[in-house]
Symmetry: C2
Amino acid sequence: MSADGFDELRAALGGRLLEDPESLIAYSLDSSRAKPGGRPIGVVRATSTEDVSFALAWANVRGIPVSVRGAGTGLSGGAVAYAGGLVVSLEAMNRIVSIDVENRLADVEAGVVTADLDDAALAQGLFFPPDPASARWSTIGGNIATNAGGLRCVAHGVTTDVVAALEVVLADGRVMRTGARTRKNTTGYDLTSLFTGSEGTLGVITAATVRLKPVPPGEPRTFRASFDDIEDAGRAVTAIVSGPATPEVLELIDARSVEIIEAFHPSGLPSPGAAMLVGQTVGLTAHETAGAITEICRAHGATETEISASDSLLEARRLANPALTAQGLRVSCDVGVPVAELATVFRGIGEIAERHSRRIAVVAHAGDGNLHPTVEAGESPEEYAAAELVIDDITRLALSLGGTISGEHGIGSVKRHELPWQQDAAALDVQRAIKVALDPRGILTPGRAI
Amino acid sequence: MSADGFDELRAALGGRLLEDPESLIAYSLDSSRAKPGGRPIGVVRATSTEDVSFALAWANVRGIPVSVRGAGTGLSGGAVAYAGGLVVSLEAMNRIVSIDVENRLADVEAGVVTADLDDAALAQGLFFPPDPASARWSTIGGNIATNAGGLRCVAHGVTTDVVAALEVVLADGRVMRTGARTRKNTTGYDLTSLFTGSEGTLGVITAATVRLKPVPPGEPRTFRASFDDIEDAGRAVTAIVSGPATPEVLELIDARSVEIIEAFHPSGLPSPGAAMLVGQTVGLTAHETAGAITEICRAHGATETEISASDSLLEARRLANPALTAQGLRVSCDVGVPVAELATVFRGIGEIAERHSRRIAVVAHAGDGNLHPTVEAGESPEEYAAAELVIDDITRLALSLGGTISGEHGIGSVKRHELPWQQDAAALDVQRAIKVALDPRGILTPGRAI
C-alpha cells in the first residue's frame, strides 16, 4: 500500500522508514485488547526530532492518520496503528542526554526505557520516582503521553508530577518547547501538563526534562499482610494512608491473582484467604514504619503479617500483568476511587462478579485507590464483549463512589465510550476545541483519548 | 457609564452588581504597579456560580471585557479592571463546603481566604500546603488562577500540585467541572492544570477540590544563618537542597530588605552583613534537621546561626512585601533559576545594581530558586520606567541561567513583553490557539497572561 508522495518520505528517512510486513504488523499493536482496523503504510523509526517533524509535516498536508508509539506497553489502545496510517516510533530516540545532580533533573529523549533512566539516576544517588509495573520495557515518552502511574505513586505522585519541560512536535511539524528547568514556573499556560497525558492526540513528545529525587538513606523494608476478607484489607489501607506512617508502595493482590501469578512464575507468594497487602517502606525508620503499618493491618483483621529486607514480594507483584496476559486475560481496567471508598468498592466488585457469574481477579495500587480488576473470560469476541459489560459495571460503581474511569492507563480507544459517564458536556467540548485548535486536520491519534 | 442591556444585568443581580464610584475604583486595582486604563461599568460581587455564569454570558454576547478578582493581592496586574469592562469578584463566594479528613480533600468556593482554609484544616489535624506570603488576604481562587507559590513550596510544591478538581465558568457562561476526587486521574486532558495558572483568561474558577496534608508530628523549629557574602548564602542553599536534610521553608532576606522590614515593623531581625537565610523544619527530627542545615550554612561561611522554637523569623519575612509597598517600592519581579545557579544570579544582580546605580533589595524563596528583587526607585512614571529596565536586565540574567521570568506571580500585564524571551514561537502560537478556541470573543482578561 502506498500514498501520494510516499517516495518523498522514503527519500528523507531512508532505512528509518520500515515497510516490511513483519514490522507493519509488529508496530500495529499495543498491550491492550484493541485491534488495528488494517495495516499502516509505514513505520517511522525516528532517530531525531527532525525525523518526527518531517513525518508529521508530511502526514499533515495529506491528512494521513498518525499513531505514536514508545515500547507498545500501553493498555488502552492508544498506540494501535490506523489502517492506511503512519506509525511514529520513538524507541530509537533513547539517549539519556544528561543527569544534573545539583538541580536533580534529567534530560532524556522520549524513547529511553523507564528503568534505564532509573538505573542511571541511581548511579548518582538519585532515582526516577514514577514506577509503572512495565518499567523494564516502557519508555519515558510513553509514560508521559499517558501520564503513567505505578507502584510508588502513593509516595511520589504520578508522571506529571515529575515532568519539568517537554520538547513536542506539533501536528504540522513545528517543534515546541514547554516548561522550565526551575522548580516553579508560572510563565504562560501549563502546556507541559496539558501535553502530559494527552495520549498522542496533541503532539508527539520527543524529549523531556524530568525531576529526580534523592535515594532515601537506610535499608528499605517490604511488608505483607494477609486477610480473609478483602473489605478488611480495604479498610486497613484507608487507615494506613490516613495516618502518619507513610509507605512508599502499598499494593493489594487478591487470592485469585496470587494463584495466577504463582502459576505463571512460582515466587513463593503465600496464598491469602482473600487478599494480601504488600508494600515497601524506606528511610532511616523503614523498619519501624513497616511495623506500624503491619500493626494497623492486624488491628483491621490481618491473619498474618511479615516484614522482610528482600524485595521478592514486589517482584512478584510486577508479574501480575504478564501472568494475566499469558492466560489470555486482557479485559481489565484501571478505575480509581477515593481511598476511603476501598472497602466499599471491593464489596461492590464481589457483587458484580456474582451477578455476572464471572470471576474477577483484582490487583490494586491500593494506597492511591487505583484498582486493576481483570474479568476472567475466554478469548473469543463474544467472551470479550461479555467481559466488557462487567468492566462497564465496575466503572459505573467506581464513578458512583466519586471515582475515575482511568487512574493511570489513559482512555485510548478502549475506554472512550465511558468518557461521558465521568465528564460533563462542557468539559468534553473544551477538550474537543483544544484538539481542533492544535490539530486542525485531525491527524494525531484521531478518535481516541477525548 | 452604561452598556446596551445593562438593565438586564441589574435586574438579574440586584445588589450584587456594584456601580458606585468608590467600588468601581476599589475593585479596579490589584497589588501590582499596573494601572487601569479607565473605569469599569460595574462590579459583579457574585454569591453563586449562577451569578458568574449569568454575568459572563451577558458580557460574551456583547463583547465586553471581563477582569476576574479574588482579594486583589496579585502582583502582575492580572486582576486590574478594563475601561468599560465588567469586574467579576469572587470574594463573597467564601464557603468552605466540606473537609473530607479520610481522603484529605477540601471542597471550597473560590473566594475562601487561603489562611481560613488552612485554619479549618488545622482543626482536623491537616493543613493546606500552599502558603503565599499574602495568605491572610489572598483567596484560593486567586491562588489557583495564578498558580501561586509561597514559603512552603520547597517542601510541598506549588498550588497546582494540590488542586484535584475545579468548577469553572467558561466565557459563554457554561459551567464545567474538571478533575476527580481520586489521587490519580488520567481521564482526558489535564484541564485542571491548564486552568490553574491561566490567570482568568480561559474561564472563571468558582470552586475547587484541593488536597490537604497531615500536620507533621513534633514541634517545628525555625533557623537563621547570617552571611557577609550573599553568594555564600546562595551556595549554602544549593548545598542544603541537594542534600538529605529537608527544610519546610528556606528563605533568603538580604541586608537591605532586613533594614526595610525593620523600619516598617521592628521585629528584632538582626542585621546580617550581606544576607540571612531563615527557614523552618518540621517533624519528629525538626531540631536535628535544623542543626544539619545550620551546619551546612557554617561550612559555607555563615558568621552566625540560630535555632529557635518561635516563628517570629518567618512572621518578619512575611512583612517584606507590605514593607516594600509602604515605601512605594513596587517595581519587583519573581524570576526563578535552577537552584544550582543561586550564587551566580546573586552575583549578577549585584553587577546589574552597580551598572544602573540603583539599589536592589532581594528576598527569595531561596530553596526553590525563586527570587523577588525590588528595584529602589521613586514613584514617578519616569522612575518606574527606569526601574523596569533594571528588572528587564535581571529577567534576562535569570533566563541566561536556565531560569523563568515568573516563578509564582504569573505574567498578567506587567511581564507580558518578556514572554517571547522565554517561550518559542510555537509555544506562543499554541497558547493563543487555545485562548481563541475557548474564548472566541476574547472577553476574558484580554491581552494578558499569554
